[in-house]
């Protein structure tokens, strides 16, 4: 029987397979490790880290919607220092690429976080979250401002040799404009997409169901939008894309790769079936076998324009 080479490259980062666990949907790996063998997954992206610990938003933080969910966690995290001291040792037991996701409220904080984290060899790349819809500081929303995204990319790149992936917001007119800015400023890849801004109200109390009023929509409901954003980037900018949004099974993984993703991240699905990510790997491999794909990257952007 033939075999398929599942390894993918995102800049200088090599992953044994294209299936990663998305930021904010696996904490720091401890709990999900009770369900799956972390050695087998393509990579883990940490919950967004900030320089200092963050308490996050008061409850209620989540609400279910048709085939989706809204969250406004508010970037609750232990901060860079405790992460390095308390959280990384657990992850070091595994042979799995660790990508640190960083969220910050100033350009300086992005740089400082990266500088502190890059010295840790176990961290293989950074994902810069410029797109969290649930935290706004001083009215700034970096993710909607191409100039800010450019500066952040450039300054973060300047303090690390590791690949820098910028996680883009879908809440913009043209996401490819942002992907272009990332590329032009030396970014190695983009992740698309973060959650879409949404809300939900209780009609009896007339209060928002989520304390933060607005939350981020994720899950299968957003998959068609996420695919369109990945395709838009693929058609306009030559940069590796990590596809994210509503992936529920191996078919969705393949669909994201066909429209342009080099790798994908599994988010909300981890809450519903924490074992699903691992199970997809042989299924994607089987698809490749059946379709005469020997190196999985052949799938990336392999859509047919013929009608």
């Amino acid at each position: 029987m033939n075999s398929v080479d599942l390894t993918v490259k995102i800049g200088s980062l090599t992953l044994t397979n294209p299936i990663l666990l998305a930021s904010g949907t696996v904490g720091y790996g401890n709990e999900i490790a009770e369900f799956i063998d972390l050695n087998k997954i393509g990579g883990i992206v940490t919950k967004s880290l900030s320089l200092k610990p963050r308490k996050g938003n008061p409850p209620q933080r989540i609400v279910e919607t048709p085939s989706g969910m809204l969250n406004a966690i508010g970037l609750q995290n232990v901060g860079v220092e405790e992460f390095l001291k308390e959280k990384i040792p657990f992850l070091k037991q595994y042979d799995v690429p660790l990508i640190c996701n960083i969220a910050a409220s100033s350009i300086e904080e992005y740089v400082e976080c990266t500088r502190l984290l890059t010295t840790e060899d176990f961290i293989k790349a950074f994902e810069i979250n410029v797109s969290c819809p649930n935290v706004k500081e001083g009215g700034l929303q970096f993710g909607n401002n191409p100039i800010a995204v450019g500066i952040i990319t450039q300054k973060v790149k300047a303090v690390t040799n590791k690949p820098v992936i910028v996680k883009l917001s879908p809440n913009v007119s043209y996401i490819s404009e942002f992907a272009k800015v990332v590329k032009d400023n030396g970014g190695d890849a983009v992740s698309a997409i973060n959650t879409l801004v949404g809300t939900s109200f209780n009609i009896n109390t007339r209060k928002p169901k989520i304390h933060n009023v607005f939350g981020g929509l994720s899950g299968p409901a957003i998959k068609p939008i996420a695919l369109a954003k990945v395709l838009e980037i693929k058609q306009k900018v030559d940069i590796p894309i990590i596809g994210i949004g509503g992936i529920m099974n191996w078919k969705d993984v393949v669909e994201f790769m066909i429209v342009g993703a080099s790798a994908v991240q599994i988010g909300t699905l981890n809450f519903i079936d924490p074992t699903a990510s691992i199970k997809m790997i042989p299924e994607v491999e089987q698809y490749c076998l059946e379709n005469n794909i020997t190196q999985i990257s052949e799938l990336t952007g392999s859509y047919s324009s013929q009608k």
Binding site: P59, R61, I62, M69, N71, P220, M248, T268, F271, I272
Partner: protein, 253 residues
């Protein structure tokens, strides 16, 4: 923690639109503790998308029971299941009630569906403990005494037992106990737990409560279920991992 497809063995309709569902899950049945919970996928589709958390209500051999009423889409689907249908279940989750300790009498305080975790709790409680149950509801139809022992009842509208809320009933009846020899175990609506907390802290009575909160994962990865800590102001506790059962002194309700 286990995750697997579990076959439904029985769905029993109790009075007042309360249902008991029995499912075959040996691994969970043999390890779960009273007060712990299960996170259940009630459909195989993306609707509803998220699992639904339910306390373990009872255990019989290789099977677990949950108790529920029809609230929304998820529980509606659950009630319509047939014997032999499978449910994907994750469990045991969270921390349960203390079964031992320096108390003589376990005083159970339950409001509405808050009765759910106690049948199994009563079964597993250390043999040397006495039990007193206080069960409340808005009216007669909301009082669930299933699996309870030595029960006193309250209803807000006086249609059954004491007229008033269950914590008022408790306060009235508790004078016959020595506070240091009892421990209270509470489960029910937030307002009830809040007044239970106030009462027990003021009177220095040991008390554990089972709390509820919207959840996505149920096992600590989404950070969706924070509850204010009474000790640390800069950190939330997670209901699914640090709870759902808390010592009342540890949380703000």
């Amino acid at each position: 923690m286990f995750i697997y497809n579990s076959a439904i063995e029985k769905i029993i309709a109790l009075e007042n639109n309360i249902f008991l569902l029995k499912a075959h899950c040996p691994e969970i049945a043999s390890t779960i503790q009273p007060g712990q919970f299960l996170n259940i996928k009630v459909s195989e589709t993306t609707f509803p998308l998220l699992r639904r958390p339910f306390s373990v209500c009872d255990v019989e051999g290789d099977s677990i029971f949950i108790m529920f009423n029809i609230l929304g889409e998820g529980t509606k689907l659950l009630q319509k299941k047939h014997i032999g249908d499978t449910l994907n279940i994750i469990g045991p989750l969270g921390n349960g009630f203390s079964l031992g300790g320096n108390f003589e009498t376990a005083v159970i305080v339950a409001g509405g569906l808050g009765s759910a975790p106690f049948p199994y709790f009563i079964k597993k409680l250390n043999m040397d403990k006495k039990i007193a149950c206080f069960v409340g509801g808005k009216s007669e139809h909301d009082v669930i005494q299933y699996g309870m022992r030595n029960v006193k009842v309250s209803t807000d509208d006086g249609s059954l037992g004491f007229k008033g809320n269950v914590v008022e009933l408790l306060q009235q009846e508790l004078s016959s106990y020595e506070y240091s020899k009892i421990k209270i175990f509470g489960c029910g609506p937030t307002a009830m737990l809040r007044s239970l907390r106030e009462f027990t802290i003021k009177n220095n009575i040991e008390c554990e409560v089972s709390t509820e909160c919207a959840m996505a994962c149920g096992f600590g990865i989404c950070m969706g279920c924070p509850t204010e800590s009474a000790k640390q102001n800069d950190k939330y506790l997670l209901v699914c991992k640090d709870g759902p059962v808390f010592n009342v002194k540890d949380v703000v309700i």
